[in-house]
Symmetry: C2
């Protein structure tokens, strides 16, 4: 009998998502900023102690709002890790910024904070730490750099980092601004979606206006103004209530979702530790200051060839395991603009990292198949 196909990821419902969608219809509100939007925002603000939070159409959109709020302009520099998704950089490129790429740590995809000080110039306006796999970047040195320089802001790319912590602090609550994603590949999903967190109160009032197409429409619907008007630049960053209703169904099950992912992650970790001890690959490294959210289970292979061979081997066993980011400093779009510094650790992570299937509905049998197939490769 042929083994069933095990996908890398699988979108899911965890509870009342579809019931809430029907409720949104019954509420007579499918466009943005209705009950489910506000309810989800409230929940997340309370849970993580966030001052302000606005749902967005994507994590990308949240990063773009951050760039608009910071008033990024042509000539401004923004420090971004090379090993990340395009959106982390694109959001600032859209405002005319020059991206200064930082390397990863040798033993972890996250950016090497020790290197960042050397990349700062008088034109640096933002540093964007990406908490890869929900593992916190070392935030203290970045916050110190921000304090030491005028108008230098920290924007957390917390796309993958819901429920993660830096020491005791929830990720997304540490920087001046932070972006979350609810893309179907994330722990908590709504298809496409995200959230901007505004921790620096200086940006709160303007954020709501930029979110609502540059109008004071949110104030209008609260009854604060008689009609709404064009008061600033903006876009339509707010997701529909359809999307927010789905998201709320997921947030209600946040505990259950996290519990299951954590069990799965831990199972991989323990089962594959013997091979890691033999030097076949490295397991995910989690620093003492980080509490992670079981977002990604990855291995770091010893070479590109071995990683690709492992992907092929798993494919033959009908298991989809995947690489991750292509380093942005070497991308067709940016390599001619990059200052030429080699970023060997970003490149190494692009070449050697493999992500194993991890999703809410991954059952024990299937996960054991994945583990057995990895073990067989190294026999």
């Amino acid at each position: 009998m042929e083994q069933p196909f095990i996908p890398f990821n699988k979108p899911f419902t965890a509870g009342q998502e579809l019931v809430h969608i029907q409720q949104a219809l019954a509420n007579g509100k499918l466009s943005g900023n209705g009950y489910f939007t506000q309810h989800s925002q409230q929940f997340l603000k309370a849970r993580y102690g966030l001052a302000h939070a606005l749902l967005t159409t994507s994590g990308t959109a949240a990063l773009e709002m951050a760039a608009l709020l910071l008033g990024i302009q042509p000539g401004d520099e923004v420090i971004v890790p090379s090993f990340t998704f395009t959106s982390t950089a694109n959001a600032f490129v859209l405002r005319g910024a020059t991206i200064v790429f930082a390397d990863s740590l040798p033993h972890h995809p996250n950016l090497d904070t020790d290197q960042v000080a050397g990349l700062i110039t008088p034109r640096t306006r933002a540093i964007v730490p990406v908490h890869y796999a929900g593992v916190a970047c070392d935030m203290a040195p970045l916050l110190a750099l921000s304090r030491a320089h005028d108008q230098l802001f920290i924007v957390e790319d917390a796309a993958q980092a819901i429920e993660s912590r830096y020491h005791e602090q929830p990720l997304g609550a540490v920087g001046h601004l932070a972006a979350f994603s609810f893309h179907e590949t994330k722990n908590i999903i709504c298809g496409e979606g995200g959230m901007l967190v505004i921790n620096d109160p200086e940006f709160a009032a303007r954020a709501e206006i930029i979110w609502e197409k540059g109008t004071n429409r949110a104030a209008f619907f609260r009854g604060e103004v008689a009609r709404y008007q064009w008061v600033d630049v903006g876009s339509s960053f707010l997701p529909s209530e359809l999307t927010a209703a789905y998201l709320w169904g997921q947030l209600q099950q946040l505990g259950a979702i996290q519990e299951r992912r954590t069990t799965q992650w831990q199972r991989y970790y323990e089962a594959l530790q013997p091979l890691a001890r033999q030097g076949c690959f490295a397991l995910p490294f989690v620093p003492d200051y980080a509490r992670h959210n079981a977002h990604i289970f990855y291995l770091l292979c010893t070479s590109l060839e071995e990683r690709d061979a492992l992907i092929r081997h798993l494919g033959q066993h009908r298991i989809l395991a995947v690489s991750h980011y292509q380093p942005l400093h070497a991308s067709p779009f940016y390599r001619a603009r990059h200052d030429g510094r080699p970023l060997p650790h970003a490149t190494a992570h692009a070449e050697r990292l493999i992500r194993l299937p991890l999703y809410y509905e991954l059952n024990l049998t299937d996960q054991q198949q994945v583990i057995a197939a990895v073990q067989r490769f190294y026999l």
Copy 2:
């Protein structure tokens, strides 16, 4: 017995929307560019004879994609009617453009095409006709201007114009690019959503990349490249399959939705004609070259005071009727940037226009209540 409240608009399901959402889940695909996205795009391309079309997170996002595709830069000028939604202008302001506002026609909110020639300078890169209420702007003179000038493009703001025509041509198929909206206030809805139409093939390949966060991800998922990379600037313009599934349910009922709206529109028109003949207000004007889509039923009152009195009167009868756009040239955001030309017809439409309730589930009894309440106001 108190009269039931009649809203101005009410989001609705017309058929299989929720079934399709469950199907998207069963397909294992909730993020963008899956079956329902492609299916909806195909349907609309075939129906209107469009070369290329991409669903977007909103009509606003479609306009922003257009601005990116045209390579709008600081110093470029874009001609936009003043009587429109902020997004028509914002999309270009985000790229640094200077907005040159055009006035409306005296007898219709659409821009006065005769005036446009006088607004063109060597820096004009785009004209953005808005088909208000789904009534076509006069496109021939605009297309002639585009041909007469180098690198001057027509971007139709067809946010309200699905199923409408200019002569025999569907709106959205006329300009180089066009933006549709599926916001809950539109004929065909999905909460928040839109579509960019690319009629000029020059823009097609790049559009797909900008849509997918500046990557060749769409080509990757078609199996054309081995991995996807950062190849251009971009954003996450694509809506989730959740959204596209809902949209597809609506598109399947496009005929039934249009039939019902057309009947409702016509009923208002006929019932209120006697009062219009007496000079109480003007009914919507539809030029010979336009076939409209029953998107908005509006009256043009004789003054701001009378319009506001009518809104209050209807409110007392538990009927929500609403004004529409605040003229953008006089907005808090743009009035200091505007060149000072008075735009009296845009202002008049902002002051005198009132929209009556019109939505799929508006029943005959309720509509007759609205008509009777309007008639009573003028007794």
